[in-house]
């Protein structure tokens, strides 16, 4: 299979990013491209640096070496709010819900550049009905799945040029995983650019166009998602699936 839209300039490009957390060398050379209008999967075993990569893009950790370019602009050293306002919606691994605030207040804050758009809100409610039901409720009282919905809905609260989504199906029941996957497929169908960390291989295979696999703080393989999905021995070599079952 051919890679989708290979001729397009990538919306995000990371070149040789190295990030330290305290005295630890966590990222040791991440190279990654996210094509515009496609879903790029970021895969790898636990603890290889996927979350750190997303946080480095957001400027929540700083790359001390390497270069991150977003939408034609270098963002490596920009402060986090500026990176966000450049057009990136971020769903962190821990969801980052404001639990003292209501669902509505969480969404209001997420639309940083103005009031919530009602058509967009209808679309979000259609994807995640519980958010409508619990609109006035404190977010801290939502279930885990509902919190995850809110986290993704917050990223969708405004037009974004890129979505960074960290393990949206983590710890969820199969029915809710399907809801999540459906919403992300919706987002994709609208032409969104997404960098998605996902451990559920079924979801990854369904959504992913291209794929980057990390190991030990480095990207070790990039290519079409379909190529990886078809090659179990490659999967085993890259992500140690056999090691994990052993």
């Amino acid at each position: 299979m051919s890679e989708p839209a290979p001729q397009k300039a990538p919306i995000l490009r990371i070149e040789g990013a190295c990030t330290n957390i305290a005295q630890y060398h966590i990222l040791q050379g991440v190279d990654l491209e996210v094509p515009a209008g496609a879903v790029t999967m970021l895969l790898g075993r636990n603890g290889v640096g996927k979350t750190t990569t997303l946080r480095t893009i957001m400027g929540l950790w700083r790359a001390h070496r390497g270069r991150i370019t977003f939408d034609g602009q270098e963002i490596t050293a920009l402060p986090t709010p500026a990176i966000s306002r450049a057009g990136i919606g971020f769903v962190p691994e821990d969801m980052g819900i404001f639990s003292d605030l209501t669902v509505e207040e969480n969404m209001t804050l997420a639309a940083a550049s103005g009031p919530l758009d009602s058509a967009r809100l209808d679309w979000i409610f259609a994807a995640f009905p519980p958010l409508k039901t619990f609109w006035k409720k404190e977010a801290g009282t939502l279930s885990g799945g509902q919190k995850q919905m809110l986290a993704i809905a917050r990223a969708m609260a405004e037009e974004r040029k890129l979505y960074l989504i960290d393990e949206p199906t983590k710890g969820l029941a199969p029915a809710i995983i399907a809801t999540m996957a459906g919403a992300l497929r919706d987002l994709k169908a609208q032409g969104a650019s997404i960098l998605l960390v996902e451990q559920n291989f079924g979801v990854a295979r369904m959504l992913g166009d291209t794929c980057a696999v990390m190991d030990d703080g480095r990207t070790v393989w990039t290519g079409a998602m379909a190529d990886l999905a078809d090659d179990t021995s490659l999967q085993e070599r890259l992500m140690g699936l056999s090691m994990e079952t052993a």
């Binding site: 986090t80 980052g96 404001f98 639990s99 804050l109 009905p129 799945g145």
Partner: protein, 342 residues
């Protein structure tokens, strides 16, 4: 399939579970009732209660900025008391200069003088707060021990500056004409100024609460107390919000300092530092970062202080420590703990 979206039923919630979130607020009438039972005369009780509420309101005004500053940026500002003292000196200087207004037998002219004085004090301490944040607090973000040492140093410097500018002696003042004396209600003499302090404190609390709940900036502050990183990831510059809160908190402390000066009818360079003990107690029992907890805590401390000072003067000092210990044994994070992401 979609996720369950039914509304949960409240059937299983016991009365206690429904009552529990309101317990901190209920402690105020409970304490007042306890005072009522222990204090032999109803009129003394009424006087003490109003006095306790007035004191509590003023402590709240002085403490509110400090709890938010801690909640937002994890900054412990031992220098907060400096703003109280400076506010008092600036405000009282203005009041003394406006003797034409304060001496007039008109409530409105008197209030105008007080408003001008607290505005001047709030402006001065707001500016001082801006400088304090930049010079003293900013270099020590993230280092608690350094924060304590450096902000205490800042307090000492500001106190010395007050001594240089206003001289070494305390300044005595009298309240404006219309705020002198007391009104009699149900046989109890209630100082007029205390009623004004209660009304003004309540008004400030309601305004603050409205801002925190109903404005975008308030939402950012509340969200930032819980998870500052995520607020930044949504595109808001938390640092600017923090500076704004620091300045507002300093201005409120200065404003509270004027009110406290009018209450005590004397001001000293050390009054802010002396009040810090009570402010710390209030901030801790309220729950670090919680404005509502701070409000309730301040009223409890004010009432406790007044009741005990009447019943057993020797215990007045330690009664508030006792209150703090009791509350922390019940809720180790304070009455209204703020959820922290990290």
């Amino acid at each position: 399939m979609s996720a369950p979206d039914h509304l949960p039923t409240m059937a299983q919630a016991s009365p206690w579970q429904r009552l529990e979130p309101h317990v901190p607020l209920l402690l105020i009438p409970v304490l007042a009732l306890l005072g009522f039972l222990l204090i032999p005369s109803t009129s003394s009780w009424l006087t003490l209660t109003v006095s306790g509420l007035a004191m509590g309101m003023m402590i709240f005004i002085m403490a509110s900025g400090m709890t938010l500053v801690f909640g937002l940026m994890d900054v412990i500002n031992f220098g907060h008391g400096a703003f109280i003292s400076v506010g008092a000196f600036v405000g009282v200087t203005v009041l003394l200069g406006l003797s034409g207004l304060t001496g007039a037998p008109s409530l409105w002219l008197n209030l105008l003088a007080v408003i001008l004085a607290i505005t001047a004090a709030a402006l001065a301490t707001g500016l001082l707060g801006l400088a304090f944040e930049k010079v003293i607090v900013q270099p020590v973000y993230g280092y608690h021990l350094k924060q304590i040492l450096v902000t205490m140093g800042g307090l000492i410097i500001v106190e010395q500056l007050i001594l240089v500018i206003w001289g070494p002696d305390e300044i005595f003042l009298t309240r404006p004409e219309a705020l002198k004396g007391a009104v009699t209600f149900a046989g109890a003499a209630i100082e007029k100024y205390r009623l004004v302090a209660v009304g003004f404190g309540l008004l400030l609390f309601l305004v603050m609460r409205w801002m925190l709940r109903s404005t975008r900036i308030g939402l950012i502050v509340r969200a930032g107390v819980e998870n500052g990183e995520m607020v930044e990831a949504l595109g808001y510059r938390l640092r600017l919000v923090f500076i704004g809160v620091f300045v507002a908190g300093s201005a409120l402390a200065g404003l509270g300092g004027v009110m406290w000066g009018l209450y005590q009818e004397v001001i000293t360079a050390h009054m802010g530092a002396n009040l810090m003990v009570m402010i710390f107690i209030v901030v801790i029992i309220g729950g670090l970062g919680s404005v509502e907890g701070c409000f309730i805590g301040a009223l409890l401390v004010g009432l406790m202080q007044n009741y005990v000072a009447f019943l057993e003067p020797k215990l007045a000092l330690i009664s508030n420590i006792g209150l703090m210990v009791a509350i922390l044994m019940w809720r180790p994070q304070g009455m209204m703990p703020v959820v922290k992401a990290k």
